[in-house]
Symmetry: C2
Subunit: 296 residues, 2 copies
């Protein structure tokens, strides 16, 4: 079975999603849906449309829009009979989104996999595995070094900032330092900008350093990382130590995980799922028993 997959939204993640679909043995790229149907050179052989209906039959849509518009796009696609995968990343709201989309998906006999990325996503799987191995204990998730999109956007909204990037640096035990690089607008005062950033709710609780640079674009590197650590208790035995670490291209990893979830979506019953609710084997391409022989 070939899974006809569309990419909805063609920003940072969307571009890598196209690559990940083309690299997958069991998925076929149905096309790209974007607000204006203009083609960039790498999409020369790909249908680019403004409405998914123009792509014919689509099994799964990877929703690569900004996270705030995910609920709306996803619900509409599910109602059209298309499975969806999104990387919705607002931790506090995703359980509500799951409930909301579960209703829509069941009604329309479709499957939504939500928050399919690395955090939330595969990091969530790792945290859950650590918990099952040592139910009592503390898990620390340490992010970075790498760009934080949310924090960078918050800085760009500060008056006097022309462009900016915020780098998250792990200090350890779940504590982070923020390094903010700003390119000032003409006539702006660096000290005022620095104070405004440090007082922003995004930064006020973290150690924040602000630096002025000539050209923010020279600092952009989409590499990112995470280190998850747990020391806990198995049964009555303390000092069980676990660590997970990755150093990755951020949008490339997110897109690859979305592709794995597209594959898993066609194996689930109608409804909405987080990655924790799907058997791991369903994310992988290939024959089930061959995979078990290779991985178990």
């Amino acid at each position: 079975m070939t899974i006809r997959t569309a990419v909805v939204g063609y920003g940072n993640i969307g571009k890598y999603a196209v690559e990940a679909i083309l690299a997958s043995p069991d998925l076929k790229l149905a096309g790209v849906v974007r607000r204006q149907a203009h083609k960039t050179p790498e999409l020369a052989d790909t249908p680019v449309v403004t409405d998914i209906d123009e792509l014919g039959s689509v099994d799964v849509a990877l929703v690569c829009t900004p996270t705030r518009s995910v609920p709306q796009y996803t619900a509409a696609l599910l109602a059209k009979g298309v499975n969806t995968v999104d990387s919705y990343d607002i931790h506090g709201k995703l359980v509500d989104l799951r409930q909301e989309l579960d209703q829509v998906a069941r009604k329309h006999n479709t499957v939504a996999v939500i928050s399919a990325g690395w955090d939330p996503g595969t990091d969530s799987l790792i945290r859950a595995i650590f918990s099952l191995m040592a139910p009592k204990g503390i898990t620390y998730t340490n992010f970075g070094p790498g760009m934080s999109m949310g924090h960078s956007v918050a800085v760009r909204a500060v008056e006097g900032v022309d462009d900016a990037v915020s780098i998250t640096v792990p200090v350890g035990t779940g504590i982070h330092r923020r390094l903010v690089y700003v390119q000032l607008a003409a006539g702006a005062d660096f000290e005022s900008v620095e104070q405004a950033i440090k007082a922003d709710p995004y930064f006020i609780n973290d150690q924040t350093e602000v630096y002025q640079v000539e050209d923010v674009s020279q600092l952009i590197d989409v590499g990112h990382g995470v280190a998850i650590e747990r020391k806990g208790v198995s049964g009555r035995t303390s000092n069980q130590l676990f660590k997970y670490e990755m150093r990755i291209n951020n949008p490339a990893l997110t897109a690859q995980i979305m592709v794995a979830c597209a594959r898993a979506s066609v194996k689930q019953k109608p409804g909405a799922y987080t990655m924790l609710e799907i058997p791991i084997i369903d994310y992988l391409a290939g024959d089930r028993e061959a995979l078990l022989r290779q991985l178990v």
Copy 2:
């Protein structure tokens, strides 16, 4: 719901399984089944029997017998209407065991979770997650330092060996060194013993060092470790780096994982499962939505 759980076999893992059940909020220890029903002091308050039927209704049995007798014990328990969890660890045969037990479990409306330990088991989950994040690439599993049961048993069978332990030491990239400590039988010749060990199929492919000691029991430490590494490709992006590492008490971790699988077993449809085939959330105690809020 409280899951009435029995421990079958009271060796190294069985003792820790009792502790892990007692430490779990949602499991109740139904009793211990062993060949002789004698009680050790820590089992003062626990029913100890030679036949599981004497324990009344049991939901799940943790099969903690030697791995070679797992298939026989497990099939018999499933046929009695009891779910089973084992930590069968013969990698080459476990897919066949799964098929065999799947028939029995479906027929008797029960669930078997097989190869529930850390390798096979949680390490298999990690390897699969690494594969879904970067489908092309190489994964190395590095074991140790820690005792290898299989290798220690092989050395004890060598003529002239009174007692022995074999320690697995990771050299890196999936290559291991074996350190073998032997206590000689009276009159045995160390050099002959050393040569016999190095020629044994268990050791012939690895760098093996043999040492003579006075008392092997002074070296026993049930700590173990693993480091799993993958460098791979997400979509078309190379150099995606992943690493997982743990340092743990080996039987305590195995027992805790078996307890998690006992919990998961009551949430599955009849059949036999490896850990890869069960959603991760099912291994955890507590309310599903509360877990999602906490872990995702």
